[in-house]
């Protein structure tokens, strides 16, 4: 196999993982959205490289969708949203940075152990892509667990989807229809979540999801 091909794919996928960690590290909402946009841009680059090496033109469409929607549209909308909600200066955290980072490293280690063992027979390129994709998904989940602000939970949710796209492009032969429908369902989910955010704010005057726990009677 051509070494450069593998090295570039590895670098881009590793870069995606690194940006996931930057998301976990970042506790300011405004900066978090910028990092999320960067996540989507790196994903788009990675997918475009896969399209080039697999000679699969439809993947370019996926890359364009990632760049356009997740790299530009969604961050811009979220920026506007947090300014309208008046929370763009907020700093939030449930668990400290250091334990979160350690948990994240543990999850990366776990996903590598699992994926490398499960996919022993597959092509190396697909193997490393799958290992990275699983770690990105798990880090997105971790992000949703450790944050209490609904907006950063949305960012975590979106980065899970980025991980799924990475996995899908690594495994050759995902049809374009599936991809577009996934992209659109994410977009719909995003709109629904956006509406919910405003509803939550109207009811409880905050987007801190711990307020919801109190109303359900789970706290105190």
């Amino acid at each position: 196999m051509n070494r450069l091909v593998f090295d570039v794919a590895h670098m881009l996928a590793g870069g995606l993982l690194l940006v996931s960690f930057m998301q976990l590290y970042q506790d300011r909402l405004y900066a978090l959205l910028n990092v999320f946009a960067l996540h989507a841009v790196v994903l788009a680059l990675s997918v475009a490289w896969q399209a080039y090496i697999q000679n699969a033109p439809h993947l370019y469409v996926t890359a364009a969708i990632a760049l356009l929607f997740k790299g530009i549209v969604i961050p811009v909308v979220l920026h506007r949203m947090i300014i309208r909600l008046g929370i763009h200066r907020e700093i939030e955290q449930v668990v400290g940075v250091a334990p979160t980072m350690l948990l994240g490293m543990g999850l990366v280690g776990l996903s590598m152990v699992v994926m490398l063992r499960v996919t022993a027979a597959a092509d190396p390129l697909a193997r490393e892509d799958l290992a990275f994709a699983l770690s990105v998904v798990l880090l997105g989940l971790l992000m949703m667990v450790t944050r209490r602000n609904a907006v950063s939970q949305v960012v975590g949710f979106m980065s899970i989807e980025n991980g799924l796209v990475l996995a899908a492009t690594g495994a050759k032969g995902m049809p374009l229809v599936v991809e577009i429908s996934v992209a659109f369902s994410i977009l719909i989910a995003f709109i629904v979540i956006g509406i919910f955010l405003f509803r939550i704010r109207e009811r409880f005057d905050t987007v801190d999801v711990q307020a919801l726990d109190r109303f359900r009677g789970e706290r105190r």
């Binding site: 090295d7 590895h10 590793g14 690194l18 960690f21 490293m105 590598m112 193997r127 990275f132």
Partner: protein, 318 residues
């Protein structure tokens, strides 16, 4: 004859780092001053400071033990040996088989241990604060540094600097994300270890923030000169390590001709210049952080190092 030449080359390198170290510090100070629109002291000011301190009388605290008097020499000796082991412009020197990354970390670690002891020795509160903070920073910076070493060792198959540099200069390396992460982790560790701005301010004696300066507050005269020279050597050492591992293409191999050696020496000076310029730019651009945020900064370095090591396991060796 060959042995004499080898010894001469090694000796030249040892003297070179000693001579260049104050110049690098002076360069960084001058550039920082110019960036802040001050004129700044001359490039030679660190040499003048050292000469002045060497001439001055040593004032010792009444309750200072023998350890307090011995430690400056120990710190200087270990740091000088460590700095002289790093290949500056030529690899494969006489002692390069000892130029092991882990040995260099151990030498620097023992220097720091002695310095922290000296801070505690006199029993003043500033020395105690400085030592405790220094040890806190070190306990985070050293694992991060070791992670960087593991990454390099896994890629190059050796912890010996000459071998690592030779491997990095060959086309075997390719494009690796781990190396980028390791570079960033190493730069963060270097900033913390040399007490540069986001972690510690080398130019201040404000008691709330100082770390390194608080430890050496009780020293004077030739002792202070040696400690200052040791910290200048440490800065040079880190710039040299980064230059040798990540920009290795200009290093002269063992037994190279005079022309190649001169070229390599010139590019080494260029590397120091670029390193000093980048450091001055960075220090001017960022603000010092609170001491309690230092663990977060170094935790990020540790995480980058760990990630670099982990990513190697899903790389080409699959």
């Amino acid at each position: 004859m060959a042995l004499i030449l080898d010894v001469a080359a090694q000796g030249a390198q040892m003297m070179l780092v000693l001579v260049l170290a104050p110049l690098l510090t002076g360069l960084v100070r001058k550039l920082k001053a110019r960036l802040q629109r001050r004129r700044g002291p001359s490039l030679l000011q660190p040499y003048r400071d050292l000469v002045r301190l060497l001439r001055k009388e040593v004032v010792l605290a009444e309750n200072a033990s023998w350890l307090f008097r011995v430690i400056p020499y120990l710190v200087f000796a270990t740091t000088w040996v460590a700095a002289a082991l790093v290949p500056t412009f030529q690899t494969g020197l006489l002692f390069s088989w000892t130029a092991d990354l882990i040995a260099i970390i151990a030498l620097l670690g023992s220097a720091r241990f002695f310095l922290a002891l000296a801070g505690l020795d006199v029993g003043t509160s500033f020395g105690g604060i400085g030592s405790s903070r220094e040890v806190m920073i070190a306990s985070l910076a050293e694992p991060a540094m070791l992670m960087v070493v593991f990454t390099l060792a896994l890629i190059a198959g050796s912890t010996q600097l000459s071998t690592v540099a030779a491997f990095m200069a060959s086309s075997e390396v390719g494009l690796r994300v781990s190396l980028g992460l390791a570079l960033f982790a190493l730069i963060m560790v270097a900033i913390a270890e040399n007490a540069r701005i986001p972690v510690d301010n080398p130019a201040t004696h404000l008691e709330l923030t100082m770390v390194h300066e608080a430890m050496v507050l009780e020293y004077s005269g030739r002792h202070l000169a040696l400690i200052d020279l040791a910290s200048e050597l440490k800065l040079l050492l880190y710039v040299s390590i980064i230059g040798c591992v990540f920009v290795p293409w200009t290093l002269a191999p063992a037994g190279a001709g005079v022309q190649i050696l001169l070229l390599a020496a010139a590019t080494y000076l260029g590397k120091l210049l670029v390193g000093g310029l980048l450091l001055a730019l960075f220090e001017t651009a960022v603000a010092k952080m609170r001491v309690f945020r230092v663990p977060e900064f170094l935790g990020a370095a540790l995480m980058l190092g760990l990630l670099a090591t982990l990513l190697l396991f899903v790389s080409r060796s699959l």
